[in-house]
Structure formats: C-alpha cells, structure tokens
Assembly symmetry: C3
Homo-oligomer: 263 residues x 3
C-alpha cells in the first residue's frame, strides 16, 4: 500500500505542532507553519503555505501557490512588529473533505468551507467567510469578510461579494456580478450593509446589487441590471434601475438545486 | 558561445522524458513533470510548472509561478485518487515561438497558442482554447474552454470570454467585457452557447454580450452596452439593450489589422 | 536584541550589490537580483523576487510570490535576447515605509509608492505609476502605466485604471470601476487619453469613465454610470450616459480626507 505513505522532500517545512494523516502528498517547498491538522489523502501541490490552526480534511486538493489561514489586517501589522508568525496568527480555519482549491487561491483565517467545495484560480476568501457543501466559486472571485454562502451555490468567474453579504443555498451569480455595501461611497458615516440573495435566486452577469438590498427567493435578475430596491420572491427584474417585469414562469426550475439533490 | 548552454540549478526538477534545447534558462525550482519538448532559447523564470505533454517553441518567455498544461477538472479528481501526475495528465499543449507569458498565468491542457502571442499577468486559458498569431490577452483575462481566438486579436485587461466563444481575427475587446453563454442563468436546461465576434469588430469596455449573439464583421459596440441580438456587419451599436445607431464611418480603419500587416 | 538580526536561509538568493538593513526577515527562496536597498525591519515572505534597482524602506511587508521592479515590455524582449537580467533591468523603483503589499502583487520598474500604502492581493502596478501616502489599492486592481494616484485614495477591489490616468487625493473608487483611454476602440489613430478624477471625488461601483473625461472636485458618480462628459465640481451624476442630477448635499463629507487628517 505504498500509496498510503505520506510523501515529501527536504524542501518542505512542517511545524512540530502539525499533524498529518496517511497517503498525503506534500509538494516541494510547501510550508505548514503552525498546529495544522491535515487529514488523509490530502494533496498539497508546490509552494503552498498553511498558517496557524488550519484543519484540512480528507481527500482535499490544494493547488500550487495557495495560502490557507492567511492573516487578517491587524495580524499582519502585528507580524511586522513582532517578527513572529506564531504570535501573529490567531483563529482557526477549516477546509472540508474532497474540496478542490485551485492554484493561487488565498483563504483567510477564521473562514470555513464545508465538503466538496470547489474554487477556481486566484479566489480570495477573506476572514470569517463560510461556504456550504458543494458550492462552486469561480476564478478571480473575491469574497470579503463576514459573509455567508450557502450550499450548492454557483458564483461565476470574476464576481465580487462585498463584506457582510448573505448568499443562501442554490443561488447562481453570473460572471462579474458586483455586490456593494456602501450606499454613500465614503461621503456619510453609515454602517456597511451587504446585500442578501435569498434561496435559489439567479443574478445575470455584470449586474450591480446595491447595499442592503434583498433579492427574493427564486427571483431572477437580468444581465447588467442595477438592483436598487428589494425584489419580491419569484420575480424577474431587469434594467437600470431594475424593475420587475413579470413573475418567474412556472416551467423554470432551479438546476443547481435539482443537480445537488440528484447526486 | 556560453549563452547557448542551457542553464539551471539543482532545485529544478526535470522529467527523464523531457527534451530541452540549447540556450535555455530554467529558473530555480521550476518543474518539468512530463514528456515536454522545450525548444531553444526558452526562458522559464522561477517556480514554473509544466505538466504532461507540452511543447514550448523557441525564444518563448514564461514568467514566474506560471503553470502550463494544467489539469482539467476530471483529471484533478483522478490525481487525488491516484496520486500520480503521470496517470492524470492526458492531452497535449502547444506554445508557439516568441510568446510572452507573464507571471502567474495558467494554461490548461489541450490549449494551443501560435507564435508571438502575448499574455498579461494571471491570465487563465482553460482547456481546448486556441489563440492565433500575435494576439494579445491582457492581465486577469479568463478564457473558458472550447474557445477559438484568431490572430491579431487584442483583449484588454479583465475581460471574460465564456466557454464556446468564437473571436475572429483582429477583434478588439476593451477592458472588462463580459461574454456570457447561459441565457436562463441555470433555470432551464439549455445548451450553453457562446457569442461569436466576427473579424475586425471592436467592443467597448465593460460591455456584456449575451449568449449566442453574433457581432458582425467590422462592427463597433459602445462601452457598457448589453448586446442581446445579432449585430449586422459594419454597424455601431450602443445602449442597454444595444441598438444600432449608424454605420461605421468610411474613414474608420482597423488599426489592429493595419499594424499586423505592417510588421 | 535577536529580533534585530536579519534572517534568511540558504535558499535565498541575494546579489552582491544589494544592501540589507537590520531586523529583516527574508523568506525562503526569495531572490534579490540587483543593487536593491532594503531598509530595516522589512518582511519579505517566501518566493518574492526583487529585480534591479529597488528601494524598500523600513518596516514594509511584502507577501509571498510578489515581484518588485518587474520588467517593462521592451526589457522583457531584451531579456530573451541577452539572457541577462542585469542588462535588461533599467530604472528605479521605490517602496516607502510601512507599506503592506499582499501576496501575488507585481510592481513594475520606475513605479514609486510613498509611505503606508496598502495593496490587496494580485495588484498590478505597471511602469511609471506613483501612489501617494496611505492610499489603499484593493485586490485584483490593475493600474496601467504613466498614472498618478494621490494620497489617501481608496480604490476598491477589481477596479481598472488605464494608462495615463490622474487620480487626485482622497478619491474613492468603488469596486470594478473601469477607466478607459481609447474612445475609438482601435478604429482611429488618436492619442490615448486617460480620465482625471479630481480631489475627493467618489465613483460608484461598476462605472465606466470614458477617455479624457474629468470628474470634478468632490463630485459623486452613481453605481454603474457611464461618464461620457466632464462633470462639474460637487455634482452628483447618475445613469447611462451620466447626467447631473443635483449638487452634493452640504451635509456630505469626505470620510477619506477626514480620517487621513485625524490619524
């Protein structure tokens, strides 16, 4: 059973406090710098960095140049003062089973993804982001902090999820959707308020969702719309600013939910 | 002729099956993991990975942290099961002569670029993408699979080319153009249908091109338009949804084609 | 005072011409390839490359996989011919004190940032870009060459600043703003002309600013607007094309300027 032996060369750096399961591949020059818990059959490619208290569960793939458990802003400042990674990294990060994290992605500390989540290239998940089972987050997507993403969600290439957003189960965001949270663009002191996209809603590509707006359950937003007000459940809305044009036809389904339940 | 000696240090990993020409620079920690054929005078910077059966022709530059011949989705799944790069990588990838591939770019297996193609930083070309002679693909552009890009094309920073797109010769796409292929945003079972941008068309920045739409030869689309229907040849169209406002003036030329033919 | 000793292992490559201050951390496999001047207490993480004549001042953090002093286009061509980094890199690059440059960012030669500038992940600053004190440039932002950015500016995630732009002090750009400089999308020979965003203006997310346009001091542009003409000082404009709807209310402030002056 030679496949069950964990494999790495001398260029790898592993903290004494880390534990590593069986059958892992730890690529050359990867660094596990703190008390990480790596499960069985995990594949870390080359030049991966894992900071602090990170759990990576069985059969997950982490591509080259990825960073897991990255430091939040104040911890970076601390690092520069202290020159100690160990003192600077606090919090815990959890990566579920059978996840795919493609090269160049960065997951901050205190984020958590459930099983079979799949990321594209250069995805950034800031601190305190959670991602549900089997969600897919495309290349170059940036998810800012304190955001919740449900299960079976599909976020296409290049979308931007601002701080304090809520994205429920089976939501579809087309490419380059932009969620925003500061209605007054730094001209009035207001609390940042991310959008809420309710269960099973679909947003067309290149749309902008304004701060604090709720998109109703099962609703559909057209491509390049600007949604400035709440959208009722099961509505189709289009335009700038977006207006409701009709209800979602009875024949439409949520393919993300259907496929999730089938497999 | 010391310049003609291929140069690398012990940190480099090269498969026995690879062949490497004269006068190459293989940067530290680069990895050539399969039966690659590297021509003469190729420059690979540091931490480049080349998977599988990749050809890189003479005098091409590949910047640091690039990945060439990257695994498609099902091959990644295979890799995690098998723990063998050799079994998981299938297909061939071809990079022409005198190409420039800037740091952080990733080119998937079964893609092919002709000579003197130039990529910005962090460009992602998915599987089965072809790019013609002397085309330029800007920083952060993502080209999804099964897409054809002609020669002399210029795709500016941050544009997104969806799966199954066709982009003919001398097309110009401004920054952050978004091509889409799913009209029903995962609410109806339809076949994905990418746009076709015909020879010499120019698309303004931040536009959205809807699924299956054809932009006619030599036509011009204004900035931030949403093109929902086919556009006739040599037309100017603007707005949301885009409407034809007039014909392209006789005095306008295609500078991409002119410059291509001149040099 | 062990903390004041500069620290690095054998995998680090440092040119004989470089000078390095006290208390630095030079991460594994980082490369300082020319006559760089590194101040005190600088943190370079792993796999950082510094080309040529680069100054990095005290207490700056440079994340993993960053490249500083990267080669402009013609220098890359030279590099491929000459096979000599030393001959190919010309010009100087200056990074101020207490800057934060997150992983994956690339700063070209002849750029300059003042003190306490903060960059997100994968930021690209092309050649001859200057950035003033304590400005913040978000993840995935690309700033093309010959661009000036003032002090106390905030550019949110994913925005694109084209060549020859001027962005004055305390400007706010929301996420995915696109500045453009070629009105004729490569169909007429015109000189590229970037926009000018005057002091304290705020631009909403996903907007497009057309070539040569000036946004007046203190003005506000709505989300996803297309600004085709100059905007007077202290105006609010919205829509496609953007029209002035009213003056900025007297109660609005510039929080970026206020916070800058307070601390």
């Amino acid at each position: 059973m030679s496949k069950r032996i964990t494999n790495f060369d001398q260029s790898v750096e592993i903290s004494d406090k880390a534990t590593i399961g069986q059958g892992c591949h730890i690529g050359s020059r990867s660094r596990i710098l703190g008390p990480a818990k790596i499960g069985n059959d995990v594949w870390l490619d080359t030049n991966v960095t894992i900071y602090g208290n990170v759990t990576v569960q069985d059969s997950t793939y982490i591509g080259s140049n990825c960073i897991i458990g990255y430091l939040r802003r104040q911890d970076l400042k601390q690092l520069i003062k202290d020159k100690s990674i160990e003192n600077s990294v606090t919090g815990t990060t959890i990566i579920g089973k059978k996840c795919v994290i493609r090269p160049g992605s960065v997951i901050y500390v205190d984020s958590r993804m459930e099983d079979e989540v799949e990321l594209g290239h250069n995805v950034i998940l800031r601190e305190e982001v959670s991602v549900g089972n089997r969600s897919l987050i495309g290349t170059n997507v940036v998810v800012d902090g304190n955001t919740t993403i449900g299960k079976g969600v599909s976020i296409q290439t290049g979308s931007y999820i601002c701080k304090k957003s809520i994205i429920e189960d089976f939501v579809f965001l087309g490419p380059y959707c932009v969620l925003t949270n500061d209605r007054y663009v730094m001209r009035l002191e207001v609390e940042l308020e991310g959008p809420t996209i309710k269960k099973g809603a679909s947003i067309g590509g290149n749309s902008t969702i304004m701060p604090g707006v709720t998109i109703g359950e099962g609703s559909v937003v057209g491509a390049q719309a600007v949604v400035t007000e709440n959208v009722a459940d099961n509505s189709i809305c289009v335009g700038i600013p977006a207006r409701i044009s009709k209800n979602v036809p009875a024949s439409w389904k949520n393919l993300l939910e259907e496929r999730y339940n089938k497999t």
